[in-house]
Symmetry: C2
Subunit: 138 residues, 2 copies
DNA sequence: TATTGACTTGGACTTGGTCCATCGTAGGAT
DNA sequence: ATCCTACGATGGACCAAGTCCAAGTCAATA
C-alpha cells in the first residue's frame, strides 16, 4: 500500500490526515480488520478521527478497487488491502484468524454450463474453513 | 423437508404450531430466505408468531443440521433448507437472487499443502457471482 | 493567502439480531 | 379425558454494525 496515496492523489483524491492514517493502518500482509478495528488503530494515531470518516474512507477504497471487503462470519465486514493479487481466504473455525491463500487452478472453471442457469458468471469467492495449529492443539 | 418434523420429533423436539409453520415456510428448492422474510411468511399463516421464535427456531434447525446459514452480502443471513445435499451458491450481482449449484470436483482438493499454513482444513464454501439472465438484459 | 468545494464530524437513525422475565402449552402420566 | 410441568413462545428492551445528514473545517488551486 506504500504508493497508494500517490495513486489516489493522481485520481483526484484530496489527501487528508484521516485518509493517510486509514491507509497506514491497512498496510501489511494477511491484514483483515473490521471497521471498528481500523477505527481503534486509527484513533491511536489521530485521536480526533471519527467513525463516519473511517466508514467513508473504507468505502471509497473499496470502490476504487484498492481494498476488498470480506465477510467470513455474517458479523462485521473485514477489509483486505491485498486487492491487486487475486486470492481466497482460509478461516479458523476456532479463533477466526484469516490467511490469504492461493488455490491451484481457476475455481470458475469448475462450474459446468448446465449449472449456470443462464447467468453470466464472472467471479468465484472461496472460503476454506478448518482449525489453525493453535486451535487444533487446544 | 416433508419428513423433517417427524425426524425432529424423534430427536425429542416438541412440535408446536410455530415450529411447524417455520418448517413449512422453508420447504422448497432454491429457497434462501432471510429471518425477516421467514417471519413475514410465517405471520401470514400464524399471525401471533413472534420474531424471537423465528430466530430461535432457525437457530435450532441450523444446530441440528437441517438448515444451513448463508451469508452472500454481509447483510442479513439467509436460511437454506437444502442441507442434506452438498452444494454451492450462485448469486446475481444485480438483484441478489441465489441458485444452488453443484461444481465439478472437490474445491478442497485445489488448496495445496503449502497454502494451508498448518491448518486442518475441513470445508470449502464457494460463492459464484455474475448477472442473471434478467439483469444481464436490463 | 484567500477561496471554495470536497472532506470531516458527531449524533441521530436504521437494520439485523440477541436476551430475558413471564406466560402458555405439548405431550407424558394418571 | 384431565392434569402437570418442563419446554417453548412472547414482546419489549437491548446491542452491534452500519448509514445519513447538517454544520463546520481544510487541502489544493489560483
Amino acid at each position: 500500500m506504500s504508493d497508494l496515496l500517490e495513486r489516489l492523489r493522481g485520481r483526484g483524491w484530496r489527501v487528508t490526515a484521516q485518509r493517510r492514517v486509514v491507509a497506514e493502518v491497512l498496510d501489511g500482509d494477511h491484514i483483515h480488520l473490521t471497521a471498528d478495528e481500523v477505527l481503534e488503530r486509527a484513533t491511536a494515531r489521530l485521536p480526533e478521527i471519527s467513525r463516519a470518516t473511517v466508514y467513508n474512507t473504507l468505502g471509497e477504497l473499496v470502490t476504487l478497487g484498492e481494498v476488498v471487503e470480506v465477510t467470513t462470519d455474517g458479523r462485521a465486514k473485514r477489509y483486505d488491502p491485498n486487492a491487486h493479487r487475486p486470492h481466497q481466504h482460509l478461516v479458523c473455525s476456532g479463533c477466526g484468524i484469516i490467511r490469504d491463500v492461493h488455490p491451484a487452478g481457476d475455481p470458475l472453471a469448475d462450474l459446468p454450463d448446465a449449472e449456470r442457469f443462464g447467468f453470466d458468471v464472472s467471479a468465484a469467492e472461496v472460503t476454506y474453513r478448518g482449525l489453525c495449529p493453535d486451535c487444533a492443539r487446544g
